[in-house]
């Protein structure tokens, strides 16, 4: 008995001592190491773009292995050819088999190779689209219906080995064409064709295809699959046959871009580039591979970064503010702050009275002191925002859209809000009294009478719980406070995200809610969020905003395939929205990121939505040591 215990104790102590004494298996591997917070779930591109389209799958796999005909050149998000040799030909009407279609020809580069050294040809491109169309993108789910949009795309035909022809059912807008179909990932036909053939024979072809595990799939992107220890790490290795390695992309001040591949001699330029060169980026990869450590929480990731186990913390939300200060003091670590493409906003159910009164919403917007909360309460964790297009999205942002109540003092805001409300026919049992000189509210408003003569009943303003999002929570409580100052009986109700989602999108049974969106570069969200055809159940306009004038303009915007015209239309849309306020846009948070500047170097760090937007630049990062 005694010796037993002694042995066990000795064993435990030995393990502890040895564990402490023997250092870890350090030794850098020439890999670019990042941390991710969640497991990727699949290597299968159909799953990863379909039902399992998580940001993590995209970070570690999809975005690393595949190329597309066209892409957005980092960091300015310029639309440029990638596998294509030039811009697509103008859409033109053509009659095929009795139907009228729009067609476009895309010429491809001849120097693109798969990792198994076969060429990427028109066969692969045509297969990539047609196979998905045959499977029905809606059934594949996820993002498939939006990138291989069956309502637009009919077929893709091979013209010759390096030319394909797109046959489209209707004339697509920018969102569907340049920002949709043309940026679809390209698949290796030789690899996938037998898989599709087999899947088609199964009882549930889609399930069969989604369940397929693609081992040894050829890649055309900068990396290919290395090793995956589930729950621990994910490793990619540089694609030795990557055709774009060494390719130089040059950005000019006038927005033009040139692409030169010195190795293969490929050259492309947007139009006559003039002016200063802003940036020159040489495509890599410059690392032998990438390693993604799967860490369970931010603290662990930050400690690992400081400890030198990881070079970058890959997270679509960036880092919390509290880490920034500590990281900036850590040796060899640099932090980056970028604007993001998104916003948090407040919305009313416009089907209900008096929320459908424009002035009511304007008054609320005036009353909200975004700057005060952002700068004082939140101390720069968040920045105020007024428009549904964030200023960071500079090409599409309209700086001249109205910004109600900006720059006013507390009492000025109340004064103006009261004025606006009175104009719409509101009155009070007790009108709020203010002292403008002292900037002091003397008496709170009470008993707001609506234009129809009834007293306004109290209503719930759903905000996220403090646990889910303390920022929205804080904003919500403050807004309700200010509303009450002028007698608007608004009660902030902290509610769980799922409940808010359900009430807003499923039941459309709510008064007011505070929510958030993150956006894509192309601002077609204005059409989805505010077009009246989205006001039905399950639509994206649950607030029920209807404005025929807006609808018409939004439709035109969506159908437009010319960038400059589209831009003007987007400006106009923003003006309408800033006046009518179906959303009262409030704020957003910058994205904070950190990396080991003593070990790696990025060609640039200023990108809307941060480095994570491009999976932390795996193909251009350089290892210093």
């Amino acid at each position: 008995m005694k010796s037993w215990k002694g042995t066990l104790a000795a064993l435990i102590i030995t393990i502890l001592v040895v564990a402490i004494a023997v250092p870890g298996f350090a030794g850098s591997s020439g890999l670019y190491e990042m941390s991710v917070f969640e497991n990727p779930t699949t290597l299968n591109i159909f799953s990863a773009t379909g039902p399992q389209s998580t940001v993590w799958n995209d970070f570690v796999a999809s975005s690393q292995y595949y190329t597309s005909l066209y892409g957005l050149a980092q960091p300015y998000m310029t639309f440029v050819p990638s596998v294509a040799a030039d811009m697509p030909s103008e859409l033109k009407q053509e009659k095929i088999g009795g139907n009228t279609y729009y067609t476009s020809i895309v010429k491809m580069r001849k120097d693109i190779k798969w990792s198994n050294n076969t060429s990427l040809t028109a066969d692969d491109v045509a297969f990539s689209y047609n196979a998905v169309l045959d499977m029905d993108p809606n059934k594949l789910g996820g993002n498939w219906p939006s990138i291989v949009d069956p309502t637009v795309l009919e077929r893709v035909e091979k013209v010759d080995n390096y030319t394909v022809k797109f046959i489209l059912k209707e004339k697509p807008g920018l969102a569907q064409w340049q920002y949709g179909v043309l940026q679809t990932y390209l698949l290796n036909k030789a690899y996938w064709e037998p898989v599709f053939a087999k899947a088609k024979k199964a009882s549930d072809p889609v399930k069969e295809l989604l369940a397929y595990e693609p081992i040894g799939e050829p890649a055309a992107g900068p990396f290919m699959f290395g090793k995956w220890e589930k729950g621990a790490f994910f490793q990619n290795v540089a694609n030795p046959a990557y055709s774009m390695k060494g390719q130089i992309t040059t950005f000019y001040e006038d927005g033009n871009v040139t692409i030169v591949n010195p190795k293969t001699g490929f050259k492309w330029q947007s139009s006559k580039p003039t002016g200063k060169v802003l940036l020159k980026v040489t495509e890599g990869p410059n690392v032998s591979g990438t390693l993604y450590r799967i860490l369970g929480n931010q603290a662990a990731a930050v400690m690992s970064l400081i400890g030198g186990q990881v070079d970058f913390i890959l997270n679509s939300l960036g880092l919390q503010r509290g880490f920034q200060e500590q990281l900036s003091q850590a040796q060899g670590v640099s932090t980056i702050e970028n604007n993001v493409n998104g916003f948090r906003f407040m919305m009313f159910n416009l089907r209900k009275y008096p929320f459908n009164i424009k002035e009511f919403r304007q008054a609320i917007s005036i009353l909200i002191d975004r700057e005060y909360i952002c700068e004082s309460v939140l101390q720069g964790i968040a920045f105020p925002q007024y428009s549904v297009v964030p200023p960071g999205n500079a090409f599409w942002y309209n700086p001249d859209a109205p910004q109600l109540g900006k720059g006013l003092t507390r009492t000025q805001k109340i004064e103006q809000a009261v004025k606006v409300l009175k104009k719409a026919g509101f009155s009070w049992e007790v009108e709020p009294e203010i002292d403008l000189k002292k900037d002091k509210l003397i008496k709170r408003g009470k008993g707001l009478i609506m234009p129809d003569g009834k007293k306004m009943p109290s209503f719930d303003f759903m905000v996220m719980t403090a646990g889910y999002d303390p920022l929205r929570y804080t904003f919500g409580l403050n807004i309700a406070q200010w509303a009450k100052d002028v007698g608007i009986p608004m009660e902030a109700a902290p509610t769980d995200f799922n409940v808010v989602s359900d009430k807003v999108f499923e039941e459309q049974d709510f008064d007011a809610a505070l929510m958030g969106w993150s956006l894509t570069a192309y601002p077609d969200h204005m059409r989805w969020f505010f077009h009246s055809d989205q006001a039905g159940e399950g639509g994206f306009n649950p607030q029920g905003y209807t404005n025929p004038e807006f609808d018409k303009l939004a439709d035109a915007f969506m159908a437009e395939s010319d960038m400059d015209t589209a831009r003007k239309q987007a400006f106009k849309l923003q003006e309408i929205l800033s006046d009518e306020l179906p959303y009262i846009v409030l704020f957003d948070t910058p994205i904070i990121e950190a990396y080991r500047s003593d070990r790696i170097e990025y060609p640039y760090t200023e990108i809307l939505s941060g480095l994570q937007r491009y999976g932390a630049l795996t193909s251009t990062v350089k290892l210093l040591k």
Partner: protein, 390 residues
Amino acid sequence: MRRYVFGRVGQVILTLLIYITLVYFLLQAMPGDITMMYLSNPKIPQAAREELRSQLGLDQSLFIQYVSYMKNFFRGELGVSFSQYPKPVWDILMEKLPRTFVLFLTANILSFYIGFVLGKVIAWRRGKIIDHAATVVGITFWTAFYPLLALVVIWIFAYNLKWLPLNQFIDPRLWTAAPFTANQVFGNMVCGAAIVAIGIFLIFFYLLRGLKPSRRSRVYAWSATAALIAAVVFVAVRKGMLIYIWDITRHMILPVLTLTLINFAGTMLLMRDSMLETVQEDYVLAARAKGLPDRVVRDRYAARTALLPTVTSLVLSLASSMSGGMVTETMFSWPGLGQTLFTAALANDYPLATGALAFTGIFLLIAHFIADILYAVLDPRITYTGQSGI
């Protein structure tokens, strides 16, 4: 005995059935479903959402869904995960099981052992300083806020002192070249540990039988033990696995330490109470009168019978910590069943969440079974005859 076993199995199946049903409907009653994830992207058409619903069977009535789920369940299928469609829930859970199992088994046994020994000692020395100190320290850890304690432990030992790895269960830099998967290594660890444990048990059982084994048989027993361990280590070396086992062990130390700190007091206090009752038993007094050495009286007389109630707590805590290890798994980046349950719940992935909870239920039921058997082994007074227990 036979009737008992049959009765017991029937009872277990019935309980499991009710449990799964409750879990199933409880999760279904929660607001929202998996297709809500498509709501975040306006470009996904309604049609795709409908397709997903029908793929997942969500367009059917709840009752039909339930019946088909239960049918599959008793055929050993836990359905297909929603969030990782079409991956079977079983596969996902099986991937996590080994690491959860190894971590929590180790931690539970260790904390049980420490708690048992300490409880024994402080009950024996009741009212002395060590009793008060251990009780206060134990209660403090027992009621400590676990996530915070985990962070403090990591911060001290991994971040500041750099003695042990920060997080995760393996070191990726080592494992990128590993010829094994981690689960293979975990599997081998479990097998190796089981072989060593059973081997040692048999050696001691046969060689050191009786109350007074000879010196020679002691020597034999210890050398056989050493040989057995050496053999297992040798096999590990030959397989090239030792360094990987070692890596996992290193990574286990901090979570095991934290879990032990939090949990030992439970066993300790239980053991103390239990032992305070047994030390008043006449046979303990008799043992002292017999002139048995103090340690023998304590271990073989007082502690031996006091052990019984604590065994139940060991077995049950082992089972519940399997899926309750969410905090540990999150804090130490040790992705296992608990974390899976949590993420599944966040993603409205009912089959996965139900599956994980069902696993726990099955664990617990098995644990109850084992507890019953252990009881019978440890307490000769208990025999399972015709009656079917409670």
